[in-house]
Symmetry: C2
Subunit: 329 residues, 2 copies
């Protein structure tokens, strides 16, 4: 049996190393309007889920996590770029309980800080002379492009009335899951895994990512502001085309569908509206179906790990998966 | 004597090749709100100065330009990313006589189209498995970061009253010259040039870039709308801290300086204001000094080419330099 303490101390070591690398990356001072917001964003206390996944995948395929650090730093920088630009596009004022970059400074500063994080992220990925650099760089770039495509779909959905679940899943694969998939795959390449193992890791990351997003959609109606740093029901208030809303709009009884449409037609939604819609989610079987699909993807992720021969490495990724499954924010 | 027709037909061949590559790069259709604006931007008729420089430098160091095409496509995509995001930040409504991306669509679309161009640009740079990929990728990434720094300084200058010429030159080196320098250097690396030649090419691009920006500043007060697709005197109207304005504010007679400050204090400037300021530029020696500095950098660029052994390649770069010197827009 794999020791949970061993997993936790490994993750703590990795997280510390990533945070100290990120401090180095952002030690430059000038121009202030570029480096201050980048530093602000990177020190706002993210969970570092993506670089940790990359480094655990690197160790699970026989590598030492220290060899993957540059790539791990790169994916964390890239992830934070997406957060800054997404917040601008979504006009979100807070993230992790603090003002977003465009709110603390302005939109121009946020655009440029995001651009700067992309530059830094490639700088770290490419400086290492990894022997598979063309493969790693192409994977990284295709992922960045997919993330942009996913965000474009997400924004398109806002003004589209007939979004269906397959559209949603295409968007989620690109916007959220592709980055987690790339992290696991990159770790596998850096660790020297064989192609079968790398494919398994890619599938692990992809399914984890899809589940992760559905979980986000569910947590929004389950949890309170204290836990998430987001407002409870904020997706509903923003009329976001989540898996929940898409399903309920298509599958609820016709009277319940009318209730939803009436509420969505209002300019501003209050707590009562959120409660009513949440109740429709329950009646339409939306919540239970979402939980089932969530479980299905977590299970595919779990099964993917069977391809990994290294017992300790596999178990660390299993623990990692459990920690995501059990998250409350 | 190098044949001018030979140069022109080489450039025509290169430009055609780049344009047909760019068409391939952007053949994807969906999501429409990502690919339409990217395609719109890339087909708006740029001069392709940067990829041409890269490929001429590649040939001048003994390479075949076809081997550098991926990198050339990459720099053109990267350049167009900077244009889209800069137009958002500067709230410019037209470029090359057409609506800017954020004007034709909206700011969100422009942010994402810029991000997508960065992704595509790295995709093309990294897919080739160039044997110096870590060196090329690091140079590319450091340049992107410098361009962001330059843009940050440029935006900071807008609200800073005491900008001096050294500040201006630092900004121009980063924002404009670093990209041209990187193009020449990348071409030299890809062509297999020795380190001395690569250094000379870097200096060629850097000095060309600095001169290019001063030329832009000068053309703004010299040329008419028909030539540039920009409004005549638009830098003055926007109170941009160009070399001209910075110099005149520091060096004009105290009465002329008062005239400038009075005009700049107005919310909107008209043609008469532009003419008055242009007259101060002349009286303060601003126009002649700028022309001198412009010539100095063009000369350093020209002299840098002496390090290039390949006669045809050197002469092609000389012709290229002349075509930039003689540009009217």
């Amino acid at each position: 049996m794999y020791d949970l303490n061993k997993f936790q101390s490994k993750v703590t070591t990795i997280r510390k190393e990533i945070d100290s690398q990120l401090k180095l990356v952002l030690s430059k001072e000038l121009p202030q309007t570029l480096y201050d917001p980048m530093r602000y964003m990177m020190s706002a206390g993210g969970k570092r889920l993506r670089p940790i996944l990359l480094l655990l995948a690197c160790e699970a395929t026989g590598g030492n996590f220290k060899n993957g650090l540059d790539a791990a730093v790169a994916v964390e920088l890239l992830h934070n770029f997406t957060l800054i630009h997404d917040d601008v596009m979504d006009q979100d004022d807070t993230r992790r309980g603090s003002p977003t970059v465009h709110k603390k400074w302005n939109v121009n500063v946020a655009i440029l800080a995001g651009d700067g994080l992309i530059a830094l992220s490639y700088k770290y990925l490419l400086r290492s002379n990894y022997h598979d650099l063309s493969r790693l760089g192409s994977l990284f770039s295709n992922t960045l492009l997919e993330v942009c495509e996913g965000q474009a779909y997400d924004k398109e959905f806002e003004s589209k009335e007939d979004v269906l679940l397959p559209d949603y899943f295409k968007m989620v694969r690109k916007k959220t899951a592709s980055l987690l998939s790339m992290c696991a795959e990159t770790g596998g390449i850096l660790g020297g895994g064989n192609e079968e193992t790398i494919t398994a890791l890619r599938s692990f990351g992809l399914n984890l990512g899809i589940a992760f997003q559905i979980q986000d959609d569910l947590l929004d109606v389950m949890e309170e502001q204290e836990h998430t740093g987001k407002t409870w029901g904020s997706d509903i208030r923003h009329k976001k085309k989540t898996m929940l809303l898409i399903h309920a709009r298509n599958e609820a009884s016709s009277s319940d569908r009318e209730v939803i449409e009436e509420i969505l037609a209002k300019p501003n939604l209050d707590t009562q509206d959120v409660l009513v819609i949440k109740n429709v989610f329950r009646k339409a079987g939306t919540l239970s179906l979402s939980s089932q699909i969530l479980d299905k993807h977590f299970n595919i992720a779990r099964i993917s790990l069977n391809k990994i021969k290294n017992t300790d490495g596999r178990m660390a990724l299993e623990q990692y998966l459990e920690s995501v499954i059990n998250r409350t924010n």
